[in-house]
């Protein structure tokens, strides 16, 4: 097998193989390799002792340093909260009016609120909070459930028609589909509602509007009020302003009266901290002053 043959020129052994007179040297492994191999073994032994490493049946060695990534995360969250404490304490303790009047705090609210809104609210209400078909524009003064700071904060907390126990509940009945009104009456009521926000509209038949007013008085005032100004206690929208969630054209209003509406906003109490919800409220109030 192994042939002991020393190469005279280098002094190393050969492998004993020969190809057309050429022999292969069996050069020893360089010392540097042993050096780094020793360091690697020593490091791993140290690592086994210090870090979680060896399985022991139903448990494992925890390591002397007691490092657990879950504690690392908890610790880093704690540190982050402590870092933010400089201004979070102020947001938590001060009133909305005081915070809104403080440009320094509002600069922070804008900076922190934007990603918070983007991660949680923008999917429905849009990146700039201007909403979309079926999802309300939050930069207007028209809030279904009240636009005062506490109202907005509460709506974020409980949601609308959500799973929260204190949720806002509202439903616009499907007057047409559920046969509460005949087809013609739905259109008349819709025409009257359209005329409220379009007082100058010329193409409306006054008789239809008058008939619609009567139907409105019989069916709609319970929620929307005698003057159709809505009721934030019930989440009933003001029908006389220019803000519409599902569209303010005659066609869109007719669709809403025919098929009803039941919007849904999730509750954020279980997902966002009280502080985050207060920041979002301030962020929205700030958006609103920017876009009257």
């Amino acid at each position: 097998m192994a042939v002991e043959e020393r190469d005279n020129h280098t002094g190393y052994l050969t492998t004993g193989h020969e190809w057309n007179g050429i022999k292969e040297l069996n050069t020893p492994v360089p010392r540097a390799v042993y050096f780094f191999l020793t360091i690697a073994v020593a490091f791993s032994i140290g690592y086994w002792i210090l870090m979680p490493a060896w399985p022991l049946g139903v448990t494992y060695t925890r390591g002397l340093l007691g490092i657990d990534q879950r504690n690392v995360v908890a610790q880093s969250l704690k540190e982050a909260a402590a870092d933010r404490n400089v201004w979070t304490a102020k947001i938590q303790s001060e009133s909305y009016a005081a915070l809104l009047a403080d440009p320094k705090m509002m600069a922070i609210v804008r900076e922190v609120g934007r990603p918070l809104f983007g991660d949680n609210c923008a999917a429905c209400h849009g990146r700039d909070a201007t909403g979309g078909p079926g999802f309300p524009n939050l930069t207007t003064t028209s809030f279904l459930w009240g636009g005062k700071p506490d109202d907005i904060f509460n709506t974020i907390r409980v949601g609308i028609n959500s799973a929260h126990k204190d949720t806002h509940v509202s439903q616009m009945p499907a007057f047409g589909r559920d046969a509460m009104l005949p087809r013609g009456d739905v259109l008349k009521a819709a025409t009257y509602v359209y005329s409220l926000s379009n007082p100058g509209a010329k193409n409306l038949d006054p008789a239809t509007v008058a008939a619609g007013k009567k139907i409105f008085a019989d069916n709609c005032v319970a929620c929307h009020g005698d003057n159709a100004k809505g009721n934030p206690e019930l989440g009933a929208p003001d029908l006389t302003d220019r803000f519409w969630i599902y569209g303010g054209s005659l066609d869109a209003i007719d669709t809403s009266v025919w098929g009803g509406r039941q919007g849904h906003m999730p509750s954020w109490e279980g997902r966002l901290s009280e502080l985050d919800r207060k920041i979002l409220t301030l962020y929205l109030l700030d958006k609103r002053t920017q876009t009257p």
């Binding site: 097998m1 192994a2 492994v29 060896w54 399985p55 049946g57 139903v58 448990t59 494992y60 990534q69 879950r70 690392v72 995360v73 908890a74 880093s76 969250l77 704690k78 982050a80 909260a81 402590a82 979070t88 991660d119 949680n120 923008a122 999917a123 429905c124 849009g126 990146r127 979309g132 078909p133 079926g134 999802f135 799973a163 919007g263 849904h264 906003m265 999730p266 279980g270 997902r271 901290s273 502080l275």
Partner: protein, 247 residues
Amino acid sequence: MSIFGFHYQLERKAIGLVLGIVLVSSIGGLVEIAPLFTIHQTVEDAKDMRLYTPLELAGRNIYIREGCYACHSQMIRTLRDEVDRYGPYSLAVESKYDHPMLWGSKRTGPDLARIGEKYSDQWQVAHLINPRDVVPVSIMPAYDWLLSTDLRTDDLSAHLKAQRAVGVPYTDEMIANAALDAYGQANPDSPRAEGVTKRYGKATTVRPFDGLPGRLTEMDAMVAYLQVLGRLTDAARKPVAQAGAVQ
């Protein structure tokens, strides 16, 4: 050197070398993977962990069929920025009944591990029909056919049975009623709805997910599945709730 001397000898024995290679390359698996099956802490205990209903399981199958996992992960890692953005990090127990698991590591879209009940059904439906309608900058493909395709329910019992074969504790009653439960979960006013909460627990959401009561579509299944992601157990909220208490 003696270890090289041993190797010198081993290299000359083909079978011995092959066995040696097999032995060395299995060390990683033996030390890092095999013990997870015996170590108690691997999978946390969660008494409130509930099963996927047949409708949610059907939605999961559609999720796999459409390749959603190629762009969306379902795994929030134990890192601060992930917890800040998505919520409590994922626990192993939350994937206890996921066969196969859909953790993934590729995020072209956001992680979906905590998407359940984050947005409304209406939003999920509108977004699946055409993502650009609600998120103008989205690059996600549209899945509008989900709303016009009726859900196949005749094979749901077989799917439940297959899940049971790999360890999900579905009962005979659940398997027998799979198709009816799928219908009932999306039709709260039907007489089938009651059986769903009876068999799968009060936490089960029963509602017309796609907004079309009376009809069972693939959209129902998909939205039901998305709305249950991260909500099979509350276990994950506990450790982070403690960490959050200092805020």
